[in-house]
């Protein structure tokens, strides 16, 4: 299984080099549903990928399903409402829980030096909250699947057939950046199964979508730092990784205490920084290659040194 995850492509294009490094011939299937209504603006993408592209147009296919399958459209709308309600509650609880973590972290050491494991326990509380959200979301998906089984939709079935055929004939799959929510929705709707033997190149939102758990983050939004939040499951092809595209632009990397909390919160994964110019081909066992930049438990940025 060959998988290459890249940093953002806007200022430093590495996708063409990554594609050439795979040394494969044949069509390059692309998923750029995250571009939404700009999905067909593919001139630049075509030139970067050498003109061998086969655009799967998942966003437009998704709109087609919504237009033609009323039962699915209505169930999807209801799902979206409930998901938004769930996210609102999750954010409310997360905000308070993270305030607690930072308050404990900021507290000066007591004269005895005894910390009672308060910080670890506070972070554990956040992890439990993340798990609660993920469980509830899984239940919502289960209910959606029961209300509008995708297998029973002719429109979805037709598109899936086309997509499977397109993927079967492709030599590489490329997933671009964009709106990660839209990208995940499209991938889920068409249950895009990426065969292990099909090489994949993905960047930014595309790289996030390859992981098991997609985490949203932005420390420099208009309202200042907001907490990273678990959003959804990804395709799970890249394991043990939280992908952090635009890390330099979106994370307060100089705030080591804040970064340390993030690393501890997602301690079972590596928080991998995907900045301009980053190109990481995963090892055959799925591990990160030497030199991949990750957040350490001390809040500093470290490079992976494989054992």
């Amino acid at each position: 299984m060959r998988t290459i995850i890249l940093g953002p492509q806007r200022f430093m294009t590495t996708a063409g080099t990554a594609l050439r490094s795979l040394g494969v011939d044949g069509p390059v299937a692309t998923v750029n549903a995250g571009w939404e209504e700009r999905e067909d603006d593919v001139g630049e993408l075509d030139s970067v990928l050498g003109g061998r592209t086969r655009h799967l147009r998942l966003y437009h296919r998704m709109l087609d399903v919504i237009t033609k399958d009323e039962a699915f459209a209505s169930a999807a709308l209801a799902f979206r409402d409930r998901h938004e309600d769930l996210m609102a509650l999750y954010r409310l609880r997360l905000h308070k829980a993270m305030e607690g973590v930072y308050a404990v972290q900021r507290r000066p050491p007591s004269p005895s030096g005894e910390a009672f494991g308060a910080l670890d326990d506070a972070v554990e509380g956040v992890r439990r909250l993340d798990d609660w959200y993920s469980r509830e979301l899984r239940d919502l998906y289960r209910e959606l699947d029961a209300a509008a089984p995708l297998e029973s939709s002719d429109v979805v079935g037709w598109h899936r057939g086309e997509l499977e055929a397109a993927l079967r004939d492709s030599a590489v799959l490329v997933l671009t950046g964009g709106h990660v929510g839209t990208l995940l929705r499209a991938l889920r709707l068409f249950a895009l199964r990426v065969p292990d033997e099909l090489p994949v190149i993905a960047w930014s939102a595309g790289a996030m979508a390859l992981t098991e758990r997609v985490v949203l983050f932005h420390d420099f939004g208009p309202r200042g730092a907001s907490e990273a939040e678990v959003y959804d499951r990804g395709l799970g092809r890249v394991r043990g990784v939280v992908a952090l595209p635009h890390a330099r632009r979106r994370l307060q990397l100089e705030d080591r205490e804040r970064c340390a909390v993030m690393a501890r919160r997602f301690t079972e994964q590596h928080c991998v920084l995907l900045d301009d110019g980053t190109a990481l081909e995963l090892r055959p066992d799925g591990g990160l290659p030497r030199g991949a930049r990750i957040l350490g438990l001390d809040g500093a940025v470290h490079e992976v040194v494989p054992r």
Binding site: I66, G177, H179, G181, L216, G221, E229, Y231
Partner: protein
């Protein structure tokens, strides 16, 4: 650390000087001269008195200028903390004749329904770039509408903002803007919405810009106005547009008396709106008696706010409040924050070194709107 001498003091040391020296000084510096956290206002001409008129709480108003000996140049220097923005005019007295006007040496002017004023911007104040036209931001559309209102017994004009790439298959939050025409005219609110939506700071939304007919009557806790907004405007827009169904998708906003209109409407119809965006709201109250000093127009405001303070309720979940530290309403606004919070409302309160004016309210829009209806920035990783 030695403080560099002010330009006007350096000029004083050269006096008496020829008129050409003063000409060059004025041409070089204009007015006001901002040096560190000090601002020197200038006026040139013959008069018996010249004063700076402003409404900055904490500074004397009027601020008398002094003539530089042997010249026709008048000057006064005052403190101006970093990031400040002050609107002012000059006033001259010649005999018994008083005249008030914008500073002829200062090209920077702000506009409002009351006319225009000169602007003094301190070190550190910048007009936010998102308030200016951005050719890359796709423009939304303003649609004129008229609603036949039984509550107000008239045809009420409304300007509706539809975001760029408006799509009836999507659903949008609703923002109801009091003093709607003024927000569009004096706070560049269409440009601001276009830019903030384009930058993903604010969710694409539908806004209803509602102008008052008689704001001093309709805005301070007026039942027909509240009925119009809650029972006529919102249902009509809900019927016509794909709006988010639920209080979390509805926000009332307003500044000054418009803030009272927003709050009092929410109090009369609790649970209909999820949030309020209040800018320099006229939250005047008294702790005893009714001597509030605001004149008769404030009587209904004070009655309403006093009643609310006596029995605070939670008509909405969240309030974004902003106020200028140089305006008289700063104390009432600060005082209301804990009252709202104790009522269980999540309050996001912010202050600016500015006054009771439209550019201050414009400058706070990004903080307010992005908190009330955050855009998809957190979802987009190009």
């Amino acid at each position: 650390m030695t403080r560099q001498r002010l330009a006007v003091n350096r000029l004083r040391e050269r006096l008496p000087a020829e008129s050409a020296v003063v000409d060059r000084f004025v041409a070089r510096h204009g007015s006001p001269i901002v040096e560190g956290e000090r601002a020197t206002f200038l006026f040139r001409g013959d008069a018996d008195e010249v004063r700076v008129r402003h409404r900055v709480v904490g500074l004397p108003d009027p601020l008398p200028m002094r003539r530089l000996e042997g010249t026709d140049l008048w000057a006064v220097t005052t403190d101006l903390p970093e990031g400040s923005r002050v609107e002012y005019q000059l006033e001259t007295r010649r005999g018994e004749h008083y005249e008030q006007f914008n500073d002829p040496l200062n090209p920077r002017v702000a506009h409002s329904p009351m006319g225009s004023s000169s602007v003094c911007a301190a070190v550190g104040y910048h007009v936010p770039d998102w308030t200016r036209h951005d050719p890359e931001a796709r423009p939304g559309e303003l649609v004129e509408d008229v609603i036949r209102s039984k509550a107000l017994r008239r045809d009420q004009p409304v300007q509706l903002y539809l975001p760029a790439r408006y799509n009836p298959a999507q659903r949008y939050p609703l923002l109801v803007v009091h003093d709607g025409s003024d927000y569009l005219g004096y706070a560049s609110m269409k440009t601001v919405l276009d830019n903030l939506i384009h930058r993903l700071d604010v969710a694409p939304l539908i806004a209803a810009f509602v102008p008052p007919r008689d704001r001093l009557k309709e805005y301070p806790n007026h039942a027909p106005h509240a009925r119009f907004v809650a029972r006529e405007l919102v249902p009509r827009l809900t019927e016509r547009f794909p709006l988010v169904d639920g209080p979390e998708g509805r926000c009332l906003m307003g500044s000054s008396f418009g803030g009272i209109a927003a709050l009092s409407t929410a109090v009369r119809y609790p649970g209909l709106f999820g949030s309020l965006l209040l800018e320099s709201a006229s939250l005047v109250f008294t702790d005893i008696g009714m001597e509030h000093g605001g004149g008769p127009y404030f009587d209904p405001v004070v009655k309403f706010v006093n009643r609310y303070r006596a029995k605070p309720s939670r008509p909405v979940e969240r309030i974004f409040m902003s106020c200028g530290t140089y305006e008289p309403l700063i104390t009432p606004n600060r005082s209301m924050v804990p009252v709202f919070r104790h009522a269980g409302i999540t309050v996001n309160y912010t202050e600016a070194r500015d006054g009771h004016n439209w550019e201050n309210w414009r400058d706070q829009l990004r903080d307010g709107l992005s908190w009330i209806f955050p855009g998809p920035q957190k979802f987009v990783y190009e």
